[in-house]
């Protein structure tokens, strides 16, 4: 599996520059204004990982990699591990930057807000990962991008629908009640979500023929 992860990292090597530019841009924007773009970097890193699927497809890498020992298993596992690692690392970097920016501009550090932002971002990107990857394995990257667009659109629509017709005070009360445990609950949900996604992707890929 290590070999596969290294390969994906080598592939996004050229995109590291893009990330570097974004980090600088983020830092600058953070100093200039109050814009909280803490979700952009992790989200971008997922998008970059997803682009590796395109490159793989173009060179028929998937078929070739099946000729390696444990090729099928490692192929899927490594993508998930690599993506999760990237999300976590980039999120931590972003959070550290947020601390620095916060201290530099306001001489105070709003710890709670920044940390909630970080966990929220990690959860959000893991959610995107969990949804997108099985779709990518089943339908390919292009169709998946369209699918994601539809899903996000649909969720926003449903969300708006729900807020109009349902009393959300119960939910907000429940959230406040669970506040202390919220983070742990989110972590557990995230782990379960990613695991189920991985199992589904693994099954789809194992059945695939080239």
């Amino acid at each position: 599996m290590i070999g596969f992860i290294k390969k994906d990292l080598f592939m996004i090597k050229s995109n590291f520059k893009l990330l570097g530019i974004l980090i600088i841009a983020y830092t600058l924007m953070g100093f200039v204004g109050e814009i909280d773009i803490s979700f952009i970097l992790p989200f971008m890193s997922v998008m970059i990982m997803i682009s590796t699927f395109s490159y793989d497809n173009y060179n028929n890498w998937d078929a070739y990699s099946i000729s390696f020992p444990d090729g099928r298993k490692n192929s899927v596992k490594s993508k998930y591990v690599a993506t999760v690692l990237m999300i976590v690392i980039v999120s931590i970097i972003t959070t550290l930057l947020s601390f620095i920016i916060s201290y530099a501009s306001t001489k105070t550090i709003n710890c709670e807000q920044i940390l909630i932002s970080m966990f929220g971002t990690i959860f959000g990107t893991l959610f995107v990962l969990s949804f997108m990857y099985p779709i990518i394995y089943k339908l390919g990257v292009e169709k998946a991008r369209i699918g994601i667009f539809l899903i996000v659109f649909g969720l926003v629509f449903i969300g708006g629908f729900l807020t109009n017709y349902f009393n959300l005070s119960l939910i907000t009360k429940a959230i406040l009640f669970l506040e202390d445990y919220l983070i742990i609950i989110l972590i557990i949900i995230a782990i379960i979500m990613v695991y189920i996604s991985y199992k589904i992707s693994e099954r789809i890929f194992n059945k695939k023929e080239f």
């Binding site: 070999g3 173009y58 060179n59 078929a63 099946i66 490692n74 080239f210």
Partner: protein, 285 residues
């Protein structure tokens, strides 16, 4: 274990093509040339061996082990060059080296490096900057550098100029110098096979047409060229296929000597693999 690769009754059905009872055996220390038209089933057979396609029927044994049950173990010792399937082209040979270190137990960085030098491939350039020939050489270097016992090669010399091809064929023959290593080589460049192949397996429309030693095909088989009148005198049992061209009849026979003793026809030529293929595919019985 006598045979490094054994395929028995491999069957796989697609919408408009099917492999039917493909059976072949490749002994240790030998090179088998796998020939056939495009679309005849060579690549499909190779994909089945490697489990790139999985829903096939039949038995495939490599190193004496079932290829599905022992997939992981077997693949440590198989080197592969496939048609149009390789590393993403934004990677460099160095990236390949570092990747493979974490994939094969026996990956030999020094050997890979030596091949890169021998083929004049710059380790830090992206694959997409390489010419077709250079890419093939890189694929071959990659296949060889983990000390495999079995090489499965699908058109490994396509796109290579004659000089490069000669280099590569030499490398294959060096590989075979160890008598427990074998090569399954699918190629349209039959002249190479006519020299170094020990066995030739010919597949047509999903079925194995013949699987014999190359020497038998080139030494014993022959192509008789004669007039219509002469052809009419030939007993159907004494030839395999025939073809009527504008100026003559071409007849494929399995034993030049016997045929010569029986019939008084002047021209019985040594056959080439290309001629054999064309006669078998386009000839009539």
């Amino acid at each position: 274990m006598e045979n490094i690769l054994e395929i028995k009754n491999l069957c796989k059905t697609y919408d408009n093509f099917a492999l039917k009872n493909v059976t072949l055996s490749l002994p240790k220390g030998m090179i088998m040339g796998f020939i056939g038209e495009n679309g005849a089933g060579k690549t499909t057979t190779i994909k089945a061996i490697l489990n790139i396609i999985q829903s096939y029927r039949g038995e495939i044994k490599i190193f004496g082990l079932d290829n599905r049950k022992y997939d992981k173990k077997i693949k440590e010792d198989i080197g592969v060059v496939l048609d149009d399937m390789f590393f993403p082209e934004i990677l460099t040979p160095n990236d390949i080296d570092n990747t493979m270190k974490g994939i094969y137990k026996n990956w030999d960085s020094k050997m890979f490096d030596d091949y890169l030098k021998e083929f004049s491939l710059l380790p830090n350039k992206q694959i997409k900057t390489f010419s077709k020939g250079m890419r093939k050489k890189l694929e071959i270097a990659t296949a060889l550098s983990h000390h495999p016992k079995l090489l499965i090669l699908d058109e490994p010399t396509s796109g290579l100029d004659p000089v490069a091809r000669a280099e590569i064929i030499q490398i294959f023959q060096s590989f075979i110098e160890k008598d427990d290593c074998s090569i399954l080589l699918s190629s349209h460049i039959t002249t190479d096979l006519e020299h170094i192949a020990d066995y030739i397996t010919f597949i047509n429309r999903g079925e194995i047409v013949l699987s014999k030693t190359k020497d038998e095909l080139l030494d014993k088989y022959g192509i008789v060229k004669c007039t219509e009148a002469e052809f009419k005198k030939i007993n159907k049992k004494d030839y395999i296929k025939y073809r009527k061209t504008k100026y003559e009849y071409e007849v494929l026979v399995s034993n030049k000597k016997d045929f010569k003793a029986k019939y008084d026809i002047a021209i019985i030529d040594k056959i080439t693999l290309d001629e054999l293929m064309v006669l078998m595919i386009k000839g009539e019985e």
